[in-house]
Amino acid sequence: MRAQTSILSALRESAFASLVAAGLAFPILALGTEMDQSNRLVLEQRWSWMLIAAGLVFVGRFLVLILAQGRVAAAPVPARIWPPFVARVLPSAGVVALFLFPLVMLFWLGPQGSLKWINNYGVQILIYVMLGWGLNIVVGLAGLLDLGYVAFYAVGAYSYALLSTQFGLSFWICLPLAGLFAAAWGAMLGFPVLRLRGDYLAIVTLAFGEIVSAVLTNWTDFSNGKAGIMSIPRVTFFGLPFTASENGFAATFGLEFQAIHRTIFLFYLILVLALITHVVTLRLRRLPVGRAWEALREDEIACRSLGINTVNTKLTAFALGAMFAGFAGSFFAVRQGFVNPDSFTFMESATILAIVVLGGMGSQLGVALAAVVMVGGTEVLRELTFLKEIFGSSFDPSLYRMLLFGLAMVLMMIWRPRGLISSREPSVFLAQRKNVSGTHVQEGHG
């Protein structure tokens, strides 16, 4: 009897939802705007789209309601703690696997077949892992919401692009310089804005990101504007270029020249950079400044009552996060050989922030997992060309990439508002290391 009424009410609710969906779909889906021969806009009727949308919402809502009924009383799952052996071995095993990844791919798929995997998946994901870990210092540990993180990434990228093309400096000199410049910018911006609280800080950092991108777009003498900076020197193997020439990398080591060598080198380079970010963050968490960051996230006023200079503490977090973005930026420039302002839009900042929040603020492993899911996931969407056979040849799956990305952000927040890994590992313990459940951890106010 109860099951029957619940199914009935689920049906009623689903019907309501599908009615709403039909209303939402009415003009925007059902009528398409097209240009005719005389460049006038005309409407194209496609009422079937509206019906499909309403039908999908009906089925989806019904399934959600029915499935939700089965697990109303499900008890909250206690935070799982890995067995000590696994916890000890897992990180190093992961690092070893990452180091072996390009070689395995190379032997398995050959130089042509492995390029996509090492470059599009390997390097691309690792850039975002590194950026996520960098921003994690600011947002996850110090609890400062930064929506303009991409500005520091841009500072790093343009530092290398300009220093190498204008002054002929090598990548290995520019890399630390790019980090320093970005950190200096971070400190400079941080000084006035870090007094702001909550969402205001987020908005000022967003404005800063937009200003940087607008300046790069419009100050043509400095950055060459929208056209960007081209023919940036490519990465070398500590001085040996990856070319087919006599003194190239391949010739020196007696290998046959292959383009994949550079990609594999780039993979190791970003892997090492990301691991440096990780190790530095892990160590800092156990040092006074790192503990002060987390204390700041928990309660800023209490920090001040204990004699902690909160402005300096925030500045170090901001500058350090910016520094890692600067490193990643100069890596980006050396990888692409070309930079323009389009790579440093608000979308990038939002993506990196989404990775940090979805990962679980403060959790290094969570951030890495989220980067794999979000960046890897959108890369996978590029591959779904078989969908063309279902939806017709005009169907372009990559168009849906960002649409699904946005939808995934919403759904993952609803599913796990505190991210994939919400529990916190204490930085010091007396008798036994016990993870702190996410429900106690605060999120910061700045």
Binding site: V280, R283, L284, L287, P288, V289, G290, R291, A292, E294, A295, R297, E298, D299, I301, A302, C303, R304, S305, L306, G307, I308, N309, T310, R424, P426, S427, V428, F429, L430, A431, Q432, R433, K434, V436, S437, T439, H440, V441, Q442
Partner: protein, 297 residues
């Protein structure tokens, strides 16, 4: 009865005034806190007690007034006057609190405080809370964390000491077995004790407690009295506390200050306060002395 607040003042407050818009929350208040005393600040709700605390600890900047703290020896009025004339914040161990930002008051003048609505780092463990309180010591030992990054041995030793100190305080408040639990998971009374222990880890000369007994049951309240008395006896820390529970006030304090509507209305020993008709009137707003005497008893 010696009056240490007159003979050996630690903190001298003169003509302190604090306004919020048109409201004068603290109005021309002057008193002294004696070195080694337990001083109680009492008064009806809204009397300006917490505002006064926030002025002492630098969270609010007072509109007027001088707050002079002599960390070690007794300061001569001449020294205070000379410092006031200069633009400096401190001279030797004499500090002018109204010129200092909150964190410097905690770090240099060494005034520690707790909050009415407990402010622990709830997502950090009990032990971590006490380690964070030793931030400045550890920062120095780790070369602003830079040397600590490469495993500087002096930092290792300093951290061991910090943990030892935390262990000492955990033992004192009976939370040694909860050291690795999140602070937010502790019961209410334990959180109050932990907040006091955390403040003590900064090695203060003056400990300011904002309603430490609020919400405690009689047993916890008695434990709190013992803790405060032992802090004073063993470490010589002076204590300034806001309290509503008269049994605590009368039992442990040496000196009582009464505020009402932002004004100081009485200042004396517990016995004097108990019999002061102005205090009785302030508490009840009526002349019904009989009942007021019961409340204050």
């Amino acid at each position: 009865m010696t009056r240490r607040w007159l003979d050996a003042p630690l903190l001298t407050i003169e003509h302190l005034t604090m306004r919020f818009g048109g409201l004068t929350a603290v109005n021309d208040v002057s008193f002294t806190v004696g070195r080694g005393d337990i001083t109680a600040l009492i008064g009806p709700n809204g009397a300006g007690k917490t505002t006064l605390f926030n002025c002492i600890t630098g969270f609010y900047k007072p509109a007027q007034g001088r707050l002079a703290l002599a960390r070690k020896g007794g300061a001569l009025a001449r020294d205070v006057e000379a410092l006031t004339q200069s633009a400096r914040r401190h001279a030797g161990d004499l500090y002018l609190l109204e010129r200092m930002p909150d964190f410097e008051i905690a770090r240099d003048a060494r005034i520690a405080r707790t909050f009415q609505n407990i402010r622990l780092f709830s997502g950090m463990t009990v032990l971590e809370n006490l380690i964070v309180a030793q931030h400045n010591t550890l920062m120095r030992a780790s070369g602003l964390s830079l040397l600590g990054l490469i495993g500087w041995p002096r930092f290792r030793a300093a951290e061991e000491q910090a943990i030892d100190k935390a262990r000492f305080w955990l033992d004192k408040i009976g939370l040694l077995d909860r050291a690795d639990d999140p602070a937010g998971a502790l019961p209410y009374g334990a959180q109050r004790h932990l907040e006091i222990a955390r403040a003590m880890c900064t090695e203060p000369v003056l400990l300011c407690l904002d309603e430490p007994a609020a919400g405690l049951n009689p047993r916890e309240s008695a434990e709190l009295n013992d803790l405060l008395l032992s802090i004073r006896a063993e470490l010589g820390t002076s204590i300034l506390l806001i309290e509503h529970d008269m049994s605590v006030v009368m039992k442990i304090s040496d000196h009582v200050i009464v505020l009402d509507y932002g004004k100081l209305i009485a200042d004396g020993t517990p016995e004097e306060i108990r019999n002061d008709p102005r205090v009785i009137a302030a508490y009840l707003g009526v002349e019904d002395t009989e009942e007021a005497v019961q409340v204050l008893a």
